[in-house]
Point group: C2
Chain length 723, copies 2
């Protein structure tokens, strides 16, 4: 009998009612037009494109996800390269625009060796080069004649860009730069696409000319041969090894040994080094680049919405299918028989999941508002008006920090809310958590970023106190600080739970709480002489408080101001979004309760009302739970999750995916002959048929000593009941 | 030129001062005898054993960790089997006791296919079998003549054991049981060791005899042939596929098709089925098994201490080595030169890490106390006294929930506190997080467990109100509830920050806060008729509040009551532990601030004092940070972390581990010929030497359209600066 008999499950149905029926029942309860809510968020055009592109990808072997969860690191890199290649062909075949290509990448939902080529190499070449350099670098890059990456971070320096060690010394004799890595810590590290794929890198190196160090500047450097792809002489380059996630990307390291590059490699759109003399010419106003950072961060916020949307779609659908226990006080019936309660009916499950659904919508409104303000600001800056920039840039730092921290935490909460099966890769949530995680560190570490926001908040506070700042539509910070200073002993006016649904009450509360915190920190630093370092904990808190105000405000105002929501047909959508905005605000208030209690703004009686209102909102939203995640319109191809399948066939999908596990393709495990057989055949038991008969038992059973108490390995007792 | 040239780093030193020097400077600052603190926690005997065993393992190829972070799933399973086999030999060769074997497993720090054989199969056979069954199953298991697992959880049921679907029907005609899986959801699932290794399983199945269903009972079932290891007829068995972590274990599924087993397979120590008649005989007092659960949970608490110890050791050491920015207000000097500040000097970093160090010690004292009470209770139960049991069992549920949730959250906090490099598997924290994670779900889901604790707390509250419960040394719950009811309007007496160091003040505060929460929930349920389900959020909160009281109390009382700490030589140790206990308590109080403010127990002035005291404690503990993690005595072999190395050679270790990355064993990546070469050679540039010369540039550069605003993939902008 061959060993290569794949394991197949018997053809049995799950215990009823089936996931299909349960989800259908949920969908029947939805109070609004799910498809119309999708259109409101994405536009019909975009949804149609996504549908078309999904169909294309589903028939493309290079975009097949079937084996995604079983691959080794090498297989991941190899299949990623196939996807990269095929994508360049598909773009031509399908005549995809840049947007459509991005939709394809979104749906594929996995970074690859070429990702940084598109997202950092090309954009940098677009914005930081002269026309000559565009011809030399950008055009070949757009045609994939060269593949690039962006090499900034070093083994010893990440957050502190000014501390980078790699040098680029101008050599006037040959009109070249010499790139050099003086220490082990100066090795470039973490560079996506560099490990194995890239032929070129934008290298951030300290510009040294005429003996003077001008700090980090960008150079476009060839690193591998275009003939045979081997590293060029003077370069040590490779992959940095396995990571927590993101293993489909070849994050790499590179070291340079007195490596010469031509003068034209210095990206010279802004600052310049004059050929021959080596004279350094400073860049114009650095503020311009802050605009780009706002744009990047607005997109991270929009991205965090998709992260939340994916996680909540999976967790909500599975929670509607998965049943555990009977809620004796309120048993669920099906065909007049009591069934186990779907876990989504437990208040705790709702409390874990529905605020994350609300946050998804909150992120949408804030991302949209950030992009609107970005446009306004870009226009204004063109006319030399930098009024908008400071507030926008400061808020964008804290918002990047807050939304990505919230998103990653919700992904994990959603995963845990799926019980044991959340821990299976088939949930779609484990690898997703790992891959999303870098967002809390890159583009500015989330703790460090809060300092930027708070520095601005404190400065603005001082200006308001000094009468040097007046409220404006575009600067809500000044508005809430001014209101606070007018009445620093204000109290919340709520007298009954429903008062907490009043948008004005909510906004006043969040504004007051942020302002109070800022005032406290300003007092500690300005009056009591506390150092910045000693105040870092509170500094992070006021950034968070400010950004929570921004998120809540953008949600509430976004709903009020959007004309497309005011039609009678969209009344049900508008209603459910209003309920979500209230849940988002009040749940956040409850999480941050101490900061509302501390200034005496909220009383304990009001807190009881607030908590009651949160539970009541969960109850109100519950029937729409599945509809609200369906509206995210994420196709099964994108989710690639057994638990999150649109049709609710959770258990069928789990078993089908288990059948694919490579270990199940043989009946007897590799290692049996060497590791198991020698043990179990030490005493050969008599065998009756295929069964063991214990005929040679030893005479007595000896009790073993008690297990050691002082010390027990921490999963020594980790036992099976995983779900 | 061959492609198989492994990449090697140049022989350069990191930028100074080196990690070695920085850690040496830290160690010089330690105020206490590190080795003596280790002895206090582990005993000298245990430490000596660990050292001996570490030496043995480091020379054993089957226990080598060098390739751990690069392995595919199949390699993980295969190397795990080799370790399992070699361990059985080593135990004999080295004459290891059970404790010593556990130390070896602890040091190896990775579960394997045989883990559940030792931790569930054998213990179940020890406690649930008759003497006949011990001979039949336990003795061969101890000799590894059979390999077992524990099959309880099913695809559709985990938490709700009573909902299990697998049946075991007694067949009087043949005196057999017939095991059957009636539905797809009845498939056993998540069973460690079952996927590929086990020959036997303890199967929990609904006992049906004479037409009556008696619910889940344990059976010992052979599942694979002892001749060739193939699954026996009537059985479908395999691996459940890749998981978020724990991929060195073959968690499996199994389904039975009318599978017959002999009458003796029913584990009959407690309940019995009479042969022939099939009459069911009930088990004696079920309370006895609660004692075992307390023991298991006490060990999970002790285990969570090791999890925290590992994570904090890595993060603290690396934070002392890693330098970023110069703290202008207080620049760090080295040889009279300003150097970048080690990140551990930033208050935020201390706030993120030092409370986790304090929690590690807190878990130690609570684990120790739980084991002491377990012994007391076992003695008492033998004499028919069940007084201790209820409180102990209830607290153990909530403590398992709280400590594992805290541990997993701290592991991730520590990982993030290591910046970008925390995301590398070489940090030792990524895979560790993944492998520890099941602890929050198994042995009782952490949310569900809180209900057990709270049910007891509410019952006790009602008893105290009714005058039916009196305070005792062994029941602190009754004590704090009684105190609260005597003065439900109590206020915190602190008038200056240092007052918060008073142990009595701390304990009163935690007791009051727990009691207040319990009283509120009791009122909602008993007076206002709220359902249990609608109160689940608050129910989880009171369990947490109670368990935080227990953790704080055990730490404080443990220090006061331990005679071995009262010697003059141990004064410095006792002092630093007292400081840690204060930090643990006050940091917890700050995290849970709302619950101390809500009842008016703490004022906002007192809160300011509390916060100031926390910062001041961080400052006090800071010089001992490295000493306190060194005292955990975790060898480098155990940590297997580039960032946590005892010698501080962080960057050397990172590069050495990167050299081992399989992708770096060839110069040109697999897939280059098929995926990269066809792209970059579409236009063949003229080549001068090995460099590209752009001689065929296209005439003009066309600006591409703006990137789509409505929609951007969420790591489209995820950029390099990872650290």
């Amino acid at each position: 009998m061959s060993n290569n008999i794949p394991t197949r499950f018997p053809d049995l149905a799950p215990k009823g009612p089936s996931g299909e029926l349960l989800l259908a029942a949920e969908r029947a309860k939805t109070s609004f037009d799910v498809k119309d809510l999708s259109r409101f968020m994405y536009t019909k055009k975009w949804l149609d494109k996504m549908t078309q592109i999904t169909e294309v990808l589903e028939s493309e072997p290079a975009f097949d996800k079937t084996n995604r969860y079983y691959q080794s690191r090498e297989e991941k890199i190899s299949t990623s390269l196939w996807k990269d290649r095929r994508l360049t062909e598909l773009v031509k075949e399908q005549k995809w625009s840049e947007t459509e290509t991005q939709i394809a990448n979104f749906l594929f939902d996995q970074s690859t060796p070429f990702t940084l080529h598109y997202n950092m190499f090309i954009p940098t070449l677009r914005t930081q080069t002269t026309d000559e350099q565009k011809k030399l670098f950008l055009e070949p890059a757009l045609k994939h004649h060269i593949i690039g990456c962006y090499a900034q971070t070093e083994l010893g320096h990440g957050s502190n860009v000014q501390g980078l060690e790699t040098t680029a010394t101008y050599i006037p004799e040959t009109n070249e730069f010499e790139i050099h890595s003086p220490t082990l810590t100066s090795s470039k590290w973490w560079i996506g696409g560099l490990g194995k794929a890239a032929t070129h890198a934008i290298v951030m190196a300290r510009l040294i000319t005429n003996g003077k160090d001008f700090g980090p500047h960008p150079f476009c450097v060839q690193i591998r041969s275009l003939q045979d792809h081997r590293p060029l002489k003077g370069i040590t380059v490779g992959d940095i090894g396995p990571k927590f996630g993101f293993n489909t990307v070849d994050n790499g390291f590179i070291m340079f040994e007195h490596y010469r590059i031509p003068h034209v490699a210095f990206l010279a759109k802004y600052s310049k080094v004059k050929a021959g003399s080596g004279e350094y010419v400073k860049p114009p106003n650095a503020k311009l680049s802050y605009g780009t950072m706002v744009f990047v961060r607005a997109n991270i916020v929009m991205g965090s919405r998709f992260a939340l949307a994916k996680a909540t779609t999976i967790a909500i659908r599975y929670s509607a299918v998965r049943q555990q226990f009977v809620d004796a006080a309120n048993p669920r019936k099906w065909d007049n028989k009591i069934i186990e309660t779907p876990v989504i009916d437990y208040t705790m499950q709702q409390y874990r999941l529905l605020p994350a659904v609300a946050a998804t919508y909150a992120f949408f409104f804030t991302g949209r508002e950030m992009l609107r303000l970005y446009d306004l600001n870009q226009e204004a800056m063109k006319n030399g008006n930098f009024d908008l920039l400071a507030d926008l840039h400061a808020s964008s730092s804290g918002l990047k920090s807050l939304t990505t921290t919230m998103a990653i935490s919700s992904i994990e909460d959603c995963r845990r809310a799926c019980g044991g099966h959340g821990y299976s890769n088939f949930s779609g949530l484990g690898q997703f958590y790992q891959d999303y995680l870098p967002n809390v560190t890159w583009e500015g570490d989330n703790y460090i970023l809060t300092q930027q926001t708070s520095r601005y908040l404190l400065k603005t506070f001082r200006n308001v106190v000094a009468g040097k700042a007046v409220p404006s539509e575009y600067n809500q910070t000044i508005t809430y600080l001014t209101q606070y200073l007018e009445n620093p002993k204000a109290k919340c006016p709520a007298t009954k739970p429903a008062d907490f649904l009043n948008p004005e009450l909510i906004l006043s509360a969040f504004g007051f709480r942020a302002a109070y915190g800022i005032a406290q920190v300003a007092e500690q630093i300005d009056r009591h002489g506390r150092t910045w370092n000693s105040m870092l904990v509170e500094i992070a808190r006021i950034s968070k408080a400010h950004c929570q105000f921004v998120l809540v405000r953008n949600f509430i105002i976004g709903l009020q101001a959007d004309a497309s929501l005011s039609t009678p047909e969209r009344r049900p959508i508008s209603n459910v979004l209003k309920t979500l905005s209230a849940l988002f605000a009040l749940y956040t208030m409850e999480q941050e309760l101490a900061e509302f209690l501390l200034p005496g703004y909220l009383s304990s009686e009001q807190t009881a009302m607030l908590k009651a209102q949160v539970i009541s909102l969960l109850d109100e939203i519950r029937p729409n739970a599945v509809g609200l995640v369906d509206a995210f319109a994420l196709p099964d191809y994108f989710l690639h999750s057994a638990l999150g399948k649109y049709d609710g066939k959770v258990y069928e999908a789990m078993t089908q995916m288990a059948e694919r596990e490579p270990l199940n393709h043989t009946q007897v495990v590799q290692g049996y002959e060497e590791c198991i057989k020698p043990l179990i055949s030490q005493v050969r038991p008599k065998v009756a048929g295929d069964r063991m008969v214990f005929s040679r038992l030893l005479p007595s059973y000896k009790k073993k000593s008690k297990w050691c108490r002082v010390f027990i390995h921490f999963w020594e007792f980790s036992v099976t009941p995983l779900i």
